[in-house]
């Protein structure tokens, strides 16, 4: 007979969104469990060696990896019960989840859930994309910044969004040469300051270019890139080869929504948010009563907004549970909402604002 472990709230995912959610819930006096499949808390923050943007209250100027440590310590101090190396296998009708840890099956139950499972990297289709040496950019970052392993000697990065730009810079820091960054769009998608940083290192950024194929017998030896036309098709005759042993793919993320589908959350397809995302109210509660979302699972954005969404979802879940002082919690929620709004207010927040508007429209329509 498997016993059932009961909590007020369970936070699934211990990254930039989940940690603040658990901290807020525990601060309000809720009995909280946090589940993460990795062996340490922090999620993607543990690989972010660069300083964060934003304002002081969002820990701007602090490196992501240090933010992970600060938040993890706070969560433990507040009494959050942490399950590491644990995977949530399923969500069932009676608010029970099944968890695998150390090859054991654990059943848990909570009144409120915050799902903060993040996103996964998209793949790109081209011949030989299964050769060793073709990596998701995030995998390169994990190898270098978590495990201290160099992925190769010379790399080509695909994608000039923030991830592609930042990881190119980190490759050079690790002693790997970066031959070029190619970007299919005509413009650099990431912050220009990140682009300027890699350009100062002598790395070319080839906009309107894509990878057409990778060559090699047992591993990557060479990559062909070509210019693309307005309809994103490679232009014959523009092919160029680079001798590299690493090809990094930083071509976007998809929300990791499996648990939300299983829980029966109403979902909508919104390309600007990265794919299928959950319908939710302004407090990040989904169509399933007491099930909240925060961070990339709710729409691909970045870590500063994920931390604020985590705070908001954690506070809203505490309110639902009747924990904490109602006025205090509501005031803190209002602050988090305003900070989120201000983060998204500028031109670089355009895509996410449009995505959220589209989601609201889609949700109303049906």
């Amino acid at each position: 007979m498997i016993s059932l472990r009961a909590y007020d709230a369970i936070v699934i995912g211990g990254g930039p969104a989940g940690l603040p959610a658990a901290i807020e819930l525990a601060s309000c006096g809720a009995k909280v469990a946090m589940i993460d499949r990795e062996d340490r808390l922090g999620g993607q923050l543990t690989k972010q060696t660069h300083m964060f943007f934003g304002s002081q209250s969002q820990r701007a100027g602090t490196r992501g990896v240090d933010i992970a440590g600060i938040l993890a310590k706070e969560a433990l101090e507040k009494g959050v019960e942490v399950y590491l190396g644990a995977t949530v296998l399923g969500y069932y009708d009676d608010r029970v989840i099944a968890v695998e840890k150390d090859e054991r099956f654990i059943k848990m139950k909570a009144t409120a859930y915050v799902v903060a499972t993040g996103a996964s990297e998209k793949m790109l289709a081209f011949p030989n994309n299964d050769l060793p040496g073709v990596y998701g950019a995030g995998a390169i970052q994990t190898l270098m910044n978590v495990h201290g392993v160099m992925p190769g000697k010379r790399a080509l990065m695909v994608g000039a969004g923030n991830i592609g730009l930042i990881i190119s810079y980190q490759l050079v820091q690790a002693g790997v040469e970066v031959a070029a960054i190619v970007e299919a769009a005509p413009r650099i998608g990431g912050y220009w300051v990140h682009a300027s940083k890699v350009r100062r290192l002598g790395i070319p950024v080839l906009t309107s270019h894509t990878v057409t194929q990778v060559h090699g017998t047992d591993a990557v030896e060479r990559v062909t890139v070509a210019r693309v036309d307005d309809s994103w098709s490679p232009v014959p005759g523009t092919e160029r080869d680079f001798d590299v042993d690493v090809v990094g793919l930083a071509v976007g993320l998809s929300p990791l929504t499996e648990l939300l589908w299983q829980a029966g959350c109403a979902m909508r397809f919104v390309p600007a948010l990265g794919g299928h995302v959950p319908v939710r109210n302004e407090n990040l509660e989904t169509s399933v009563d007491g099930l909240f979302v925060a961070g990339d699972v709710a729409g691909v954005e970045e870590a500063s907004s994920a931390m604020l969404e985590g705070r908001l979802a954690g506070l809203a879940a505490a309110l639902k549970l009747g924990r904490g002082s109602v006025t205090g919690v509501m005031k803190a929620m209002e602050e988090a909402r305003l900070e989120l709004e201000s983060l998204r207010a500028g031109p670089v927040g355009d895509k996410i604002r449009k995505g959220l508007e589209a989601l609201a429209r889609e949700a109303m329509a049906s």
Binding site: M51, P186, Y191, S342, A345, G349
Partner: protein, 163 residues
């Protein structure tokens, strides 16, 4: 254009560069920040109030070059590594301070290759000073002595093996 290349144009730079007159008076910060992104540590790190208060966190920074003392605290606080300090008050050379997050760390007095905004070698430079205080959190600030002509183009450097 910078959105296609990642390199600031002459026109972009004209918007942010302190005058030669100001640069000849002594060190002054150059903020090469051209995109409205949600970020304000330059404002919060400035101790002399030379960075105008942000109305919106997405605002571009505005520096009062006359108020700026060129202390350089902002250099290692800028998450975009977009701030440099230029000093053209010396007769024989200009001093350019740049953020640096690589190995090897050059030693003071060492000769290095100064690089421009595209990573091309502009000139040889002498490392005058290397700042690595705890408050800089691993973003070093390296002072480069370069010819005056390179004061507004040298923005990085490369440690070269003895030739």
């Amino acid at each position: 254009m910078i959105e296609n290349t990642g390199v600031a144009t002459k026109e972009d730079l004209a918007q942010v560069e302190p005058s030669l007159e100001r640069r000849e008076k002594g060190p002054v910060a150059v903020f090469e920040c051209f995109q409205e992104i949600p970020c304000n540590p330059c404002y919060t790190s400035c101790r002399v109030g030379a960075v105008e208060e942000f109305k919106d966190i997405n605002d571009l920074p505005h520096v009062d070059h006359d108020r700026c003392t060129g202390c350089g605290v902002c250099i290692s606080h800028c998450p975009g590594l977009a701030i440099f300090v230029v000093d053209q008050s010396h007769q024989d050379y200009a001093v350019v301070r740049v953020p640096y997050e690589f190995l090897p760390v050059p030693s003071e007095g060492q000769e290095v290759d100064a690089l421009d905004r595209e990573g091309n070698v502009v000139c040889r430079a002498r490392v005058r000073k290397v700042q690595n205080a705890k408050s800089q959190d691993k973003t070093l600030v390296v002072w480069l002595e370069v010819p005056h002509e390179a004061a507004m183009t040298a923005r990085n450097f490369r440690v070269v093996k003895d030739r």
